[in-house]
């Protein structure tokens, strides 16, 4: 007998989707564990939204499977109570109020109508509940989308670019919300095209480019990889290189520039002084995750 899968585990198994001649998603596999926030990252057009839509039963996979707690989405007995999703192209009727939009979904899911006001309150939208969606700002629509995702108090949350259109205060609020949801044992899968946007929030990342997985890791691992370096400008690069024997370094883009890794700037200055090497510049570089992300997804054009 197979062990019963955790209701909050997302399993994407060799998932592919072909749109005409374009392979939007290509043999993609990953698992998202309950109680974690996982960032689903990739440049625009990498296949993030298509993957999420396949996970939610909106797009039929060409091959492979995506399950939540062992079920395909369409087989979930009470879908909104198992999975909450906020998708980018999920619209609202401009002439419906935020409250009416959610009440329609409450009725469809068999949830009490008061849940609409509860989740609107949760996302800070209570004052605008009775206003038509047409009058909402982009940030308010994002919040309404989140309210929709939270409607059934689901075990799993799937959010597509939820930070788009949020102001800095909104982004900070979103981070806290996602962290608290994960702390409550929920599974959160959040897509973004900016690693820097989610690096403070997520535990794990799945990075895809051109429909394929290029990296799956814990954020802590990635941070360790993205070491800092020091840029040194000197007319005597060869002498400095000799003096810094053993350190990892490479020539910079301009003549007379060295990029030194693994040695602090102060140490380089001391070595240079001792060797009598003249320095024109000594700049510590913070190579951040975004650069690593770009390197990983490099050459995989987002627009195909």
């Amino acid at each position: 007998m197979q062990p019963t899968p955790h209701p909050g585990r997302i399993v994407v198994d060799r998932l592919s989707k072909q749109f005409g001649s374009i392979r939007a998603v290509d043999d993609l596999s990953f698992t998202v564990e309950p109680g974690t926030v996982t960032g689903f990252l990739g440049p625009n057009g990498a296949g993030k939204t298509t993957t999420l839509r396949m996970l939610l039963g909106l797009v039929a996979p060409t091959s492979g499977a995506a399950t939540i707690g062992g079920y395909r989405y369409a087989e979930l007995p009470r879908p909104l109570e198992a999975v909450g999703a906020a998708l980018e192209a999920s619209g609202f009727h401009k002439r419906r109020t935020g409250r009416a939009h959610l009440r329609v979904l409450c009725a469809a899911a068999g949830l009490p109508a008061r849940r609409a006001d509860e989740v609107l309150d949760l996302v800070g939208m209570a004052p605008a509940a009775g206003r038509r969606v047409g009058s909402y700002s982009l940030g308010m629509r994002q919040r309404l989308g989140l309210a929709q995702a939270l409607l059934g108090d689901p075990t799993v949350l799937i959010l597509d670019e939820p930070a788009n259109g949020l102001d800095p205060a909104g982004i900070s609020w979103l981070r806290d919300l996602l962290r608290s949801l994960a702390a409550a044992g929920k599974t959160v899968l959040v897509s973004s095209h900016l690693l820097s946007e989610v690096e403070q929030t997520v535990d794990d990342v799945v990075i895809i480019a051109a429909g394929r997985s290029v990296r799956q890791a814990r954020v802590a691992e990635l941070k360790a990889e993205a070491q800092s370096g020091v840029r040194v400008r000197t007319p005597h690069a060869d002498r400095l290189a000799t003096a810094l024997r053993g350190a990892e370094m490479r020539a910079g883009a301009e003549p007379g520039v060295l990029l030194v890794e693994g040695v602090p700037a102060a140490e380089i200055g001391r070595v240079a002084l001792a060797a009598g090497v003249e320095l024109h510049e000594l700049t510590p570089l913070q190579s951040d995750l975004q650069e690593l992300f770009l390197a990983l997804t490099d050459g995989q054009a987002g627009i195909r």
Binding site: T50, L58, P79, L87, F92, H101, R103, L105
Partner: protein, 263 residues
Amino acid sequence: MKAFHSELLKIRSLAAGWSTAIGVLLVTTLALLFWYLVLRSQLTPRTDLRESAPDFTETLFTSGQYFGLLLTMIFGVTIVTGEYTHQTITATFLATPKRRRVVLAKIAAAVSCALLFWAISTVLAVGGGSAILVSLDVPLDAGLSTGFGAVALNALAYLVWVVFGVGLGTMLRNQVLAVVAAILLYLGELGAFLVFPRLAAAFDQEWISSLQYYLPGGASQAMTSLVPADGVPAWWIAALVLLGYGAATTVYGTLVTAARDVS
């Protein structure tokens, strides 16, 4: 049942349902006025009022039917296409991933609304129509059975056309395209009325002329006419033809809705 309740809420939270109801009310009022003027000008002292009563009663009791059905069908189209235009279909399918249920719920909600539109039109048409008959000295009792028969068939027409509208909406998700197609199919009867008799004359085959009654618009006309006319099939044959169109579009629409990617 949950999906049905949700569909009713969707309709109630927007203006389309009320606008259609008001539209039906308006076309019924205008039609009553129109028929009153026409009948009054046609009547002469030699008209046999008792003999004309069934025809008059049928016409008056279903006043506003022609445009009322068109408005109801367009309403049926838009409750489906509106979801694609405003991209609310994603939220709908997330809440009810079994898409057949969504289509069935839409049909059930559309039929409920169509019967309400029919009821609004009928109360006005029977009330106003009776008043007109009395004012023209037409004996009410002579036309009553035909009149109520026509009212019942009118209900069937509202039902079939709204189902046809929903079916069209599921087939053609583009709102403008679907509404234009609906209008063409409905008013196409006007063109068929001109084309088929000419074809029949050209080929000297009388049966070609009656083909027009097997197209949706013509079938609807045939179904709602209880007073017999040459070459027009019986109301129940026409009803079966129309139900066939409604069933075909619905089944096809349900199948494609279930199979299509939503992105």
